[in-house]
């Protein structure tokens, strides 16, 4: 009986034992790995919006996605599955996918990998991200002018440079217009955890915060703000229409801009594994609709600054910048280099919180 079974097994293997073909028939097949649900209302949905935008605007591409992809071994398995099903472009949209993508990229030199927010590259693996700090800064201006308690809460996922940069540029904006503002930070240590995000928001509100900002993937903190009748700064997607009285403005991703660019380059064989870092000018990020309660005076100030950033006349991280322990980090007349922005591990003055020690 045992023998029969093992023969059967071998027969089955031989019967179906054909390798999935890797060649795409002129079509580019792109797979997207999402860290949360595709309809999380935030980060992952913004990437899925980008995928749909790509699908709509580029005829020769076929796309698919996997959601709630666990970081680590299962992620690697899912990437390999896609490649064996003939996908030849992999977009990984979370920092934690980096090592899995890096591993698989070595084994499949003909497949192109694009990793969002990481720093490891290969001949066939590039990285992409956006200068969200420009929009963070602009939303900080709005928050600084709108707060009355001068206590702003920032719900933050992980103490990685991306998030620290977000909090810093937001704080720089808020304190430019209101030097009394303090931005308080709570780490959730998770990208997508609506329960924790909501409870962090509630903690801030209990401490007299009147504006809640978030760098996490779900709009849970905005719902917390709405319930308590305080303001919130949106993130990832424009949720203004859902919370017209709560959201002052939002920082929004337009990933479709990058996805169409990358796919066109791949089609034209001009793709290179460059670290892409577009800003307001490129349209990969923008500020969302202003809330109903934001006065014209505030809007005008913010829009003027926005134009200055687009024209290259204003730099968010221009000196002098002190960190929250009083040390001078950027001298007057200097600007923080891109390298330093990408590896930021300190808070600017005005942030109440610590970057956890390594």
């Amino acid at each position: 009986m045992k023998k029969v079974f093992s023969y059967l097994l071998v027969a089955v293997v031989l019967l179906f034992g054909s390798y999935a073909s890797n060649a795409a028939d002129g079509k580019i097949k792109a797979a997207f790995l999402l860290v949360g649900p595709h309809n999380d209302g935030g980060w992952s949905q913004s990437h899925n919006d980008g995928r749909l935008y790509l699908q709509k605007h580029v005829p020769y591409v076929e796309t698919a996605y996997s959601e709630t992809v666990p970081e680590g071994a299962p992620c690697e398995k899912i990437i390999r599955d896609y490649i064996h099903k003939g996908y030849n472009v992999i977009f990984g949209t979370s920092f934690g996918f980096m090592d899995s993508m890096y591993n698989v990229a070595k084994d499949y030199p003909n497949v192109i990998f694009e990793h969002c927010s990481g720093y490891k590259t290969r001949k066939n693996m590039g990285t992409y991200f956006g200068r969200m700090y420009q929009a963070d800064y602009l939303s900080g201006l709005v928050a600084g002018m709108m707060t009355k308690s001068n206590y702003i809460g920032f719900v933050a996922p992980f103490p990685i440079p991306e998030v620290i940069r977000e909090i810093n540029s937001f704080t720089i904006g808020a304190r430019e217009v209101n030097p009394k503002v303090e931005v308080h930070v709570i780490w959730t240590n998770s990208w997508f955890n609506p329960v924790k995000e909501r409870s962090a928001a509630n903690t801030f509100i209990a401490n007299k915060a009147d504006i809640i900002a978030s760098g996490c993937d779900s709009p849970a903190s905005i719902e917390g703000a709405k319930k308590a009748g305080v303001y919130a700064i949106g993130y990832d997607r424009d949720n203004h229409d859902k919370f017209p009285k709560t959201i002052l403005t939002s920082r929004i991703w337009h990933w479709g801009v990058f996805y169409t660019k990358a796919i066109e380059e791949i089609k034209n064989k001009t793709w290179k594994p460059t670290p892409y870092w577009g800003g307001l000018k490129d349209g990969i990020i923008s500020l969302g609709k202003f809330g109903n309660t934001v006065p014209k005076k505030v809007k005008d100030y913010v829009l003027k600054r926005q134009q200055e950033i687009i024209d290259g006349k204003f730099k968010v991280f221009a000196g002098p910048i002190y960190d929250n322990k009083g040390k001078l980090r950027v001298k007057k007349g200097d600007e923080l280099s891109d390298q330093d922005k990408l590896s930021m591990q300190w808070f600017v003055k005005g942030v109440v919180g610590t970057v956890p020690n390594k």
Binding site: S66, D81, D107, P161, K358
Partner: protein
């Protein structure tokens, strides 16, 4: 009135038939559940099968998932046969991963590959064995129920892992993510089939199955295990040292679970992290049961459950269903397999 009558002899043939029939019943009810969600169950099963066994690549991924199941199950068969219920493979697996990762993280990376891998190999065995020694000693000397102690030690192992990953073992350049340094090339198990992820760990697993079969059928230790399993009091009167046997078997069982942890970090993940798929420790309990504690049947069950896991990830892609569907099929199949065991020992009778 319907009643159950105890069977006297149970042949291997009826074992196989009953488990196959119950598996089919499970698949049938699983299919109904899938249909209720609004998906064609035939398409899902077909896709699940081809994604688990349909090509060399899918079959290799099935082997990858089957490897830790095989290793852990082999050990569990030993202790379960003596009616000692080790529920702690989850924790022993984690401890094996931690002990072996120690060498990969802190030894000089230019250590020769055979030396590094041997250190990690024995580290894995030792980590799992020590973690299993605790409940074994508690049971033998103080009669602490091993179901409770092994289960609780699982949580402790997980917290030890978290403590290390958020503390001193975290990679300074991982930006706060709880990941260790990537393992150097010398600490990675060699791949035995090109272009797959099947590592030398699969060979370890095969050897473990054969070794356990040999131990239980050809050695004095195996015989004593059987006697203790049937009746510990008889065993004691027959001059068998029950305590010594329990401790030995528990340590072997723990060591094999620890080795599975080592194979996972060294062969697949290549760094230490909190998510180590330690759930294999629980799945293996089920694998051991459905194979009637027989090493060779456990080989087939491991492949089957490995296929269910690896195919499950893939049907997300090809069928656009959530991974939860796989959990649903798996649990319904298990429920019917375990439920059908009653027909193994009893037959249904009708009395007026």
């Amino acid at each position: 009135m319907l009643y159950f009558e105890k069977k006297e002899n149970i042949s291997n043939k009826s074992k196989l038939i009953i488990s196959l029939v119950s598996l089919l019943i499970g698949i049938f009810f699983g299919g109904i559940a899938i249909a209720v969600v609004g998906i064609n169950p035939f398409a899902v099963y077909k896709s699940l099968f081809t994604n688990a066994f349909g090509s060399w690549y899918s079959f290799s991924e099935t082997l990858v998932a089957a490897t830790p199941l095989l290793l852990i199950t082999s050990g569990l068969i030993l202790v379960f046969r003596m009616s000692v219920w080790n529920i702690g493979a989850y924790g022993q697996y984690i401890m094996g991963a931690i002990f072996s990762s120690y060498f990969a993280i802190f030894m000089p990376p230019d250590l020769s590959k055979p030396l590094m891998l041997s250190l990690m190999f024995f580290g894995g065995l030792l980590g799992g064995a020590l973690w299993a020694l605790i409940p074994a000693v508690l049971k033998v000397f103080w009669e602490v129920n091993e179901v409770i102690s092994t289960l609780l030690l699982n949580y402790i192992a997980l917290y030890v892992l978290k403590f290390l990953m958020y503390g001193s073992w975290r990679n300074p350049t991982s930006y706060g993510f709880p990941l260790s340094k990537p393992f150097p090339e010398s600490a990675q198990l060699p791949i035995i089939f090109q272009h797959t992820r099947v590592s030398l760990g699969f060979v370890f697993a095969l050897l473990a199955v054969i070794a356990v079969w040999f131990v239980i059928s050809k050695t004095k230790f195996g015989y004593e295990i059987k006697v203790i399993g049937n009746n510990p009091t008889t065993a004691k009167y027959a001059g068998i040292s029950v305590g010594k046997n329990i401790i030995t078997a528990m340590m072997i069982s723990g060591a094999l679970a620890g080795l599975a942890g080592m194979v996972q970090v060294s062969g697949i993940i290549h760094f230490l992290q909190i998510k180590l798929n330690a759930n294999y420790g629980y799945t293996s309990i089920i694998v051991a049961w459905v194979s009637y504690l027989n090493p060779f049947l456990s080989f087939m069950s491991s492949i089957l459950f490995g296929g269910l896991e690896s195919g499950g990830y893939s049907i997300q892609i090809s069928m656009r269903v959530s991974y939860g569907i796989v959990g649903l099929i798996e649990s319904i199949a298990l429920f019917s397999i375990v439920g059908a065991q009653i027909f193994l020992n009893y037959r249904l009778r009708w009395k007026k």
